[in-house]
């Protein structure tokens, strides 16, 4: 008996179905300092945390439908930390009034043999990039300001080239399914960052073309 197509099976990581609420925007290099100052003031008081990550995106092509996408991320600034594997589902097409992009999210940690394992399972790496920048927290909200770079030689993370002259700003919350107050809080926080940066719900499928 044929297995049902992989992508139509519900993906759950354990007992609770976690959803990721996401708002994205960007800020030009010259406005980065003011944005970081503002975030330092608005967010929880902790030491500013910088990170350098290398993300690889793996695709598994099923018989039909969209390919199954898994994202593997490792820290270049902490090379011994475990890898982080993440699955992001399709954005939920809910009511238009919901202010953030909501999608199913499953996160697991993995050992350093993750790329070989995924290759053996049949996944193929589609693209990779490095991200480095700053991370802030406010309560459950996580704000990441990162600079994305293209990897010119596959596997070589030293040789990178910036994708654009802007930094990507993402405001995300991981919450169990069904909590809609989260997007209200996110929207009011996003208001406080205007007009430096406009955080909004950007549907990735609309960007494709």
């Amino acid at each position: 008996m044929e297995a049902p197509p992989v992508t139509s099976m519900p993906v759950t990581g354990g007992a609770v179905n976690m959803m990721e609420y996401l708002l994205q925007g960007s800020v030009l290099d010259q406005a980065l300092e003011s944005l970081l100052h503002r975030l330092r003031g608005l967010c929880d008081n902790m030491d500013p945390e910088t990170f350098t990550d290398h993300e690889l995106v793996y695709l598994l092509k099923g018989q039909q439908g969209n390919p199954f996408i898994l994202r593997a991320r490792r820290s270049l600034s902490h090379p011994t930390s475990p890898w982080h594997l993440r699955y992001l589902g399709q954005p939920e097409v809910g009511d238009k009034s919901r202010h953030a992009l909501v999608r199913n999210c499953v996160d697991v940690a993995a050992s350093h043999s993750l790329p070989e394992f995924l290759n053996e399972m049949g996944f193929r790496m589609d693209h990779e990039f490095t991200a480095n920048g700053h991370m802030f927290r406010k309560g459950v909200m996580k704000i990441v300001v990162s600079k994305l770079s293209r990897i010119l030689v596959p596997g070589n993370t030293e040789n990178t080239e910036r994708l654009s002259l802007s930094y990507l700003v993402e405001l995300s919350v991981l919450a169990p399914a069904g909590q809609d107050t989260v997007s209200e809080d996110m929207r009011s926080f996003a208001e406080q960052l205007k007009p430096l940066v406009h955080l909004e719900k950007i549907d990735p499928s609309k960007q494709r073309h």
């Binding site: 008996m1 030009l28 790496m125 693209h127 940066v197």
Partner: protein, 270 residues
């Protein structure tokens, strides 16, 4: 006449003492706050303390300038008796700060001239002031007054005026570029602009016309091996791979039997 002056002097000294006591208390509580509660201290409350001190110093100044106050410069304080012994009354009066009225404390507490450094600075300032002449000094005073009044006006005017002109400044310097936003989001979401180093697209090279890729490679096949609770997922008999006639793909001969975990497959069966 003498009596009136004496009474005025006494009254002035009394009020001066009480004002100075107020300043002392304010300073005391402020220092205590700074030393013990500095983690919880907010800038507005620090400003409040400074404002309080400044207000109190102002009242002292006003008191001294008051016409009813006799000029203290004309009074002279001469110590009549100095002794190295501890004086209990004095100690109580000064809260243990001056226990002995001796030769050491006199130059400090009964001083009327400013410190030598301060005196030097004052002399320099007066020389400077004399040098520039009265007209220049007057012009400088006028400029200072104008600047201060401009600043006060700007601060006192309603916020709308301020916001409109600062909004105009901000518009000329945008801090984000929507095109960049889209580019970055596209890159993160599905690798737009990132997959240049790899062979393009999901189609095998040389066969652009093919429909959705049917890979003959490792496909998840669920092959049920006949019943039996002892059976675990293992290598099943060779099942013919689904050849789709694609010259670019090497069909793998690894068959994986992945069965969904169900009750009958429990490894620790009773």
């Amino acid at each position: 006449m003498q009596q009136r002056e004496e009474k005025q002097l006494e009254a002035a000294v009394e009020s001066l003492i009480s004002r100075v006591a107020h300043v002392k208390n304010a300073l005391h509580s402020f220092i205590y706050k700074l030393e013990n509660e500095y983690e919880r201290l907010t800038w507005p409350s620090v400003l409040d303390n400074f404002a309080l001190l400044s207000g109190q110093l102002n009242t002292i100044n006003k008191l001294l300038k008051n016409e009813k106050t006799p000029s203290f410069r004309n009074q002279v304080i001469i110590p009549l008796l100095l002794s190295p012994d501890r004086d209990e009354d004095l100690a109580k009066l000064t809260e243990q700060r001056v226990p002995v009225f001796s030769h050491e404390i006199v130059p400090d507490y009964l001083r009327t001239k400013p410190d030598p450094e301060v005196e030097e600075q004052e002399k320099q300032l007066s020389v400077e002031a004399a040098r520039i002449g009265p007209e220049v000094a007057q012009k400088q005073i006028q400029t200072l007054n104008k600047l201060c009044s401009n600043l006060l006006e700007k601060l006192n005017n309603p916020r709308d005026d301020r916001d409109s002109e600062s909004a105009a400044i901000r518009q000329s310097k945008p801090s984000f570029n929507p095109a960049d936003t889209n580019a970055l989001v596209g890159a993160v979401a599905f690798g737009k602009g990132l997959s240049k180093c790899r062979p393009p697209g999901p189609v095998a090279p040389g066969h652009p016309g093919q429909g959705p890729m049917m890979s003959g490679g490792p496909t998840l096949q669920q092959v049920t091996i006949g019943g039996g609770s002892g059976q675990q997922a293992g290598m099943g008999g060779p099942v013919a791979p689904q050849q789709q006639g694609q010259p670019g793909k090497i069909p793998s001969s690894i068959k994986t039997n992945i069965k969904s975990a169900s009750g009958s497959m429990h490894p620790y069966n009773r």
